[in-house]
């Protein structure tokens, strides 16, 4: 049983094929719908893994990792634990990405940088208020009380543990983030350059 990926060269031009993707989905679950959900969950974890390494392109690296994982499976490589194997590939992908970035011209990176600092200006605030209004009343009330008041008291009043409260707040945050990202895609920009 091989459970650690080798750093095999010459795979740069390989593209994910339908067969390889099928192989990965089949390995995740024989039911295609359940497999798709597991695929998305694995992708989300990989994105967080790369994001928490401080990588500027976590989504891209997550997709690259999944592509390589699919390829290994379609090549018939025996993999015992998919998550552990994915981490092994992820480490190689991250290592390659760091090396590749080191070669880039620093000035070019600066121009490429889309990084505007977060700024809660009028537009962002309006967007946040709009997104808060899209929440069901119960969720809106919870998040307002979570951020404005005593959390222990809120948990007691809801009859849930602090951890359960934090979890509910996280779910609502994720909905707000999604709402704000969609709004940003429609109306880019927040603070403004004159």
């Amino acid at each position: 049983m091989n459970d650690s990926p080798s750093d095999a060269p010459a795979r740069k031009h390989w593209e994910l094929s339908r067969e390889a993707l099928d192989c990965l989905l089949e390995r995740l679950d024989t039911n295609r719908e359940a497999a798709s959900l597991l695929y998305e969950a694995l992708r989300a974890r990989l994105i967080d893994l790369f994001a928490w390494e401080g990588d500027p392109e976590p989504e891209h690296l997550a997709d690259e990792t999944l592509n390589r994982l699919a390829r290994r499976l379609s090549d018939g490589e025996p993999i015992r634990n998919l998550s552990h194997y994915a981490i092994g590939i992820a480490r190689l992908v991250l290592h390659e990405a760091v090396r590749s970035r080191q070669k880039k011209d620093v000035a070019l990176r600066e121009i490429e940088s889309r990084a505007l600092a977060p700024k809660a200006d009028q537009m962002a605030m309006e967007e946040m208020n709009r997104c808060l209004q899209t929440l069901p009343a119960e969720n809106r009330d919870l998040i307002e009380r979570y951020y404005s008041g005593d959390r222990a008291k809120l948990a007691r009043s809801l009859g849930i543990s602090m951890n359960a409260l934090r979890n509910r707040a996280l779910r609502i945050r994720e909905r707000l983030l999604d709402c704000m990202q969609r709004g940003r895609d429609i109306k880019p920009g927040s603070g403004h350059r004159e």
Binding site: W52, D55, A115, A117, A120, D121, L170
Partner: protein, 246 residues
Amino acid sequence: MNSEDLIAYLLHETAEEERLAFSEKWMSDPELHEQLKMAEAELLDAYVREEVGPERRRRIETYLLGSDRQRQKLSLALSLHQALPRQRATPWAAIAAAACIVLAGGTAWLATENSRLNRQLAEARVEVERQRAAGPTFSLTLPNDAVRGAERETSLALPSSAQAVRLELGLEPADRSASAEVEISLAGRVVWSQHPVPEQSRDGRLAAIVWIPSAVLTPGRYEVKLSSNGSALAYYHFNVTPRAER
């Protein structure tokens, strides 16, 4: 797994081997992944509320704000912070301290004030030095021109890796305004503006916070005007020197 362990993982405060082992653990444990996401959200909340120390602040900037995706999370935390400010207890201690200063008379007040301003100036100079070693986001503290004296001006040498600058504009209590706005000008031309401007209070000192993309700050002498409803509240100045390579 306690929350400090989760924070230590997110901020790369653990040894590499331990980190790798923990990555394997949470990658196959959805509940642990959720715990990490909660810890991350709370770290970003603490960051925008100025509730983290300088070392953790630097680590958050280095490890948690590396991608657009992560910066959007920070933007959310900032918007939440402003849309839903945490209720604060009445600052009776500060009020009592202010009352004591008034009662103690003008001389004592001036001595205290002088000492505070000197401390602010010293901190501003240290801050500039600190920037040289900082990560992609920089913080710069600027005392109000009215309390600093025209001969002393802060210089900023941004390394090429800098992506954003966070200005902390020193505020006097009388300058507080719910509708404050900021304009930053270079040679009379406004290059950046922000409205509204969030405030923070730390160690009894007030500051207005402005974030600026570093690309906006070409070399030159900048004037920062803080105003409310068209009336100037305070002015600040700083120099940006040519970019330093890192």
